[in-house]
């Protein structure tokens, strides 16, 4: 850890923020832990983490470098490591690419059907191997 001395930012030094043009999203507030619905409104999963096209760690960022952007919403095993520390190997990350995201409100909507997403493989496995097999499994409750 670098110098323990803490330099307190005086409130007077804080200037009004520049206002970006488009929709402004804070990750913790608007993206993380939000429910993801597919195009028909079927819940897909909850956003456990975000993947950025961000800078490589521990490398100085050149002046005027393009800012990173969100490449994918992450879900699945990454929730465990987010809470208890550590990091899952990158091949085990389940991704929902950012370009299928169609809207961000109190929920995040994607423009595709949930069955087409890798994030719903557990649901599909259970449906085909367990729940679908039990009689009455694919009937509307009457």
């Amino acid at each position: 850890m670098s110098a323990e001395k803490r330099r307190k930012i005086e409130p007077s030094e804080i200037r009004p923020a520049p206002r970006p043009a488009g929709l402004v999203l804070d990750a913790q507030l608007h993206l993380l832990d939000r429910q993801v619905l597919d195009v028909d409104g079927v819940p897909v999963t909850t956003v456990d983490d975000l993947e950025l096209s961000g800078p490589a760690p521990d490398e100085p960022i050149p002046e005027g470098a393009a800012p990173p952007s969100i490449t994918a919403l992450l879900t699945g095993p990454v929730l465990g490591t987010r809470i208890f520390g550590g990091r899952p190997p990158s091949n085990r990350l389940i991704r929902i690419p950012w370009d299928v995201v169609s809207g961000v409100d109190t929920v995040i909507t994607v423009g595709v059907r949930s069955d087409s997403l890798e994030a719903s493989w557990v649901e599909r496995w259970l449906r085909n191997h367990v729940i679908g097999r039990i009689p009455g499994g694919s009937h509307d409750p009457d």
């Binding site: 987010r82 809470i83 208890f84 520390g85 550590g86």
Partner: protein, 161 residues
């Protein structure tokens, strides 16, 4: 991030120790320690007496009555096990514990008769008909009342109000 994991583990450990403290260890048969089992058995025999009384008035079904008697028998047995677990070094405590155990035994015998009498289908309103001769409902009721009075006397003697 992982210090949360460690903190979580310490909390769980503390809870486990807490749970350990909850289990009662074996005590000496002081009136204070006997108060719990004695009151439990008193409550159980009163409930069984009420069940038999209601059955005589045909206010309850055979199933409900016998279930009540069965439950109460279970209560008396667990109280008896608890009192048997007491260590009684002095002579005076030993006699108190043994009196208590004999009283519990008479109560559980009375309850056994009550359960048998209660399970017999009610043959109609006349008295004493269901169940074998000496174990008709009114006789069982009397037996239960005597056992209760015996326990009550013992409790007042031992200073358990």
């Amino acid at each position: 991030m992982s210090q949360y994991g460690r903190r979580l583990a310490t909390i769980l450990l503390a809870l486990a120790v807490l749970a350990g403290a909850l289990t009662a260890c074996s005590q000496r048969p002081s009136p204070e320690a006997l108060k719990g089992p004695a009151k439990d058995v008193f409550s159980a025999v009163q409930a069984a007496t009420l069940a038999v009384d209601l059955r005589i008035k045909n206010s309850t079904t055979a199933a409900a009555g016998s279930t009540a008697a069965d439950d109460m028998l279970g209560e008396v047995e667990s109280a008896t096990d608890e009192v048997e677990g007491f260590t009684a070094p002095t002579e005076e405590e030993k006699s108190l514990r043994d009196d208590m155990l004999t009283s519990f035994a008479t109560i559980s015998r009375a309850m056994l008769h009550a359960r048998d009498a209660l399970t017999a289908p009610s043959g109609g309103p006349e008295q004493g008909q269901p169940g074998s001769g000496a174990h008709g409902l009114p006789e069982v009721l009397g037996e239960l009342r005597n056992a209760t009075d015996q326990l009550k006397a013992l409790m007042t003697k031992a200073g358990i109000q």
